[in-house]
């Protein structure tokens, strides 16, 4: 179906294109405390999930009113569940404990293999009139471009779109497959390989 070709490559150095926002690395998160962590995932069906990254919130241990949210990206993990054996002598509870361990191990491996691609930093304070928490100062955003450099801007929103793609075979329809984060004219897409999806769907 596919053929491996050898191409002659033109060695032309390509300069980094400057963006409207500035290029600046994100802050060092050493010492920051993780507050929450969730997966960036898509659920295709009851037995088929796609994990693509993590969404983590950190708090500054020195200033508890300062937070950073980091979106990380890893190679998409297309998880297809297998049915437990239909055996009355096997405890589903025990199997679920092994499943929990496997999930935790896999999550930890994916976490280590993830690159941060979006960082958003903000501070909060108490509104003296209402006593409620309100934003304090600017929202600072670092967004990673394809070269790996970081684009920085303040108070600019990040747009999130959900991407669909046509899947042949059993489904033969468009399904929700990924996410596109856009910022200051650039974007970053989280998406699994369609051929990997097809393989997973066809596997018994």
């Amino acid at each position: 179906m596919r053929k491996i070709l050898l191409l002659v490559i033109l060695l032309i150095p390509w300069p980094c294109r400057a963006q409207t926002a500035s290029i600046s690395p994100p802050p060092d998160l050493s010492g920051w405390r993780e507050v929450s962590r969730s997966r960036i995932e898509v659920v295709i069906s009851e037995s088929l999930n796609i994990y693509m990254g993590f969404d983590i919130e950190y708090v500054n241990p020195v200033n508890p009113n300062e937070f950073i949210r980091v979106i990380t990206k890893h190679r998409p993990s297309i998880i297809k569940g297998r049915n437990a054996p239909n055996d009355r002598l096997i405890s589903e509870v025990v199997l679920s404990r092994y499943a929990e361990r496997d999930r935790a191990q896999m999550t930890e491996e994916l976490f280590k293999e993830a690159d941060p691609v979006i960082c958003v930093k903000w501070r909060i304070k108490k509104d003296p009139r209402t006593g409620k928490e309100i934003q304090d100062g600017d929202i600072e955003t670092w967004f990673r471009v394809n070269s790996g450099d970081w684009l920085f801007n303040k108070n600019q929103e990040i747009r999130v779109e959900f991407l669909t793609e046509h899947i042949d075979g059993k489904l033969n329809k468009n399904i929700l497959l990924g996410r596109k984060y856009s910022f200051a004219g650039v974007y970053n897409i989280f998406k699994p390989s369609r051929s990997d999806i097809m393989l997973a769907m066809e596997a018994k």
């Binding site: 390509w14 092994y98 897409i189």
Partner: protein, 404 residues
């Protein structure tokens, strides 16, 4: 018709048959002690393995692995399964049933001890949910039945123990005629039909709950559950869990015999895409890839890049899709790669062959250039997906073009 067969228990070879090494006295003792207590749980492949071990250290390693595979909660530091089995062992050794309300005076030691059928059942399933004893008469043996229920409240097992003059056997004639089953309960080797009827009448009279009668008729509510299945050494739960572990279809697939220089990013390929159009409406596409932004397979003094590329053009109005797919490789001198980590090199895509709809590597369906030339004028969403063939690092783009 009265048959003349003797009852034979269908169980695995008794622990004493599973010979340990005789090459080392300490190893032999350790192994024998292990088999005495836990032999019922040892599967045939494990037994073969154990018999091949001739040192104490090797047998200790076997035991450690034996328990680890059976741990019912791998998320804790304790081995809950071993704790459970050791507790049951202790209960057997301290004759817990001696003071049981339902079957007082029942002794494991009088039924083969740790090697007997009662111990076998108790080790596997623990204290029965229902236990009853029925004294026999001149025609019928003393009986004891143990019931185990599942979480649905259905009878999972009915174990029936038959005591004939101190010799206790586990009833195993569930697959035979009813007459033959009753014969197992008889005190006589060749009971007459009349004696079998007496046994039946005796059961009806003395067993108002029908617990014993049911034990003769059926082993389990579930027709696929048999005595041998219930008493076979269970597969270690970790092996079952491994067989049912979810599969990951996005995993990297790095051949062990290949050497790689990995890029500086863990998950993505550092690359930019350019889609260019000229005055003749010809569309061309190229990639600019960062030397240090991708993974290189080392082939002597050259680095090889291996990519899977997929591009789709979807017309925004008609929704018609044209697709392109190819797996390709290219090589560059390693010295150049190492000398220019922060520079880009260009890959022109237009002449790459399209293998989207063909399984024949010798007959691609045109090139990318052919597709861009053949699509109708209109607005298009172009999805581009570039992935490393082995490591699965990737970069995706979504662009909008207008072909006039």
């Amino acid at each position: 018709m009265v048959s003349a067969f003797f009852s034979v228990s269908i169980v695995e070879a008794a622990p004493s048959d599973k010979n340990c090494t005789s090459q080392d006295a300490d190893a032999k003792k350790y192994c024998n002690d292990f088999m005495e207590k836990y032999g019922f749980f040892v599967t045939n492949p494990e037994l073969k393995d154990l018999k091949s071990r001739h040192t104490l250290k090797s047998i200790e390693e076997f035991e450690a692995d034996f328990w680890k595979k059976r741990d019912t909660d791998p998320n804790t530091s304790d081995n809950e399964f071993k704790i459970l089995i050791d507790r049951r062992l202790l209960e057997i050794q301290t004759e817990i049933l001696t003071v049981d309300f339902d079957i007082p005076g029942t002794l494991f030691s009088s039924t083969g001890g740790l090697k007997g059928d009662m111990a076998h059942v108790y080790l596997f399933y623990g204290m029965p949910h229902i236990k009853r004893r029925l004294s026999g008469n001149q025609y019928m043996a003393d009986l004891m039945t143990w019931y185990y229920f599942d979480e649905n409240g259905r009878v999972l097992f009915r174990f029936l123990f038959i005591n004939k003059l101190g010799r206790v056997l586990l009833f195993d004639r569930h697959n035979f005629s009813f007459e033959y089953r009753l014969e197992a309960l008889s005190m006589n080797i060749n009971p007459t039909v009349y004696e079998l009827q007496i046994i039946l009448d005796y059961l009806f009279m003395r067993d108002p709950e029908n617990l014993f009668y049911a034990s003769v008729v059926e082993f389990s509510y579930y027709s696929d559950m048999t005595l041998s299945k219930a008493l076979d050494p269970p597969d270690p739960i970790s092996l079952i869990a491994e067989r049912t572990k979810p599969l990951d279809f996005g995993q990297s697939n790095i051949p062990k015999d290949k050497e790689f220089i990995y890029g500086k990013f863990k998950s993505f390929i550092g690359a930019n895409l350019a889609i260019n159009g000229d005055k003749t409406n010809k569309i061309s596409m190229e990639l600019m890839v960062l030397y240090s932004g991708m993974d290189w397979e080392v082939i002597k003094d050259r680095g090889r890049g291996n990519f899977d590329l997929r591009i789709s053009f979807q017309n925004k109005v008609t929704r018609a899709i044209s697709e392109f797919e190819v797996r390709f490789s290219f090589e560059i001198d390693l010295a150049k790669i190492k000398a220019n980590p922060d520079s880009y090199f260009r890959i022109e895509l237009d002449d790459l062959k399209n293998y989207r709809n063909t399984n024949d590597p010798e007959n691609p369906e045109g090139t990318l250039k052919d597709i861009t030339a053949s699509i109708e004028p209109g607005d298009y969403v172009v999805n581009i997906d570039l992935r490393d063939t082995y490591t699965r690092k990737y970069m995706s783009w979504q662009e909008h073009i207008i072909k006039k």
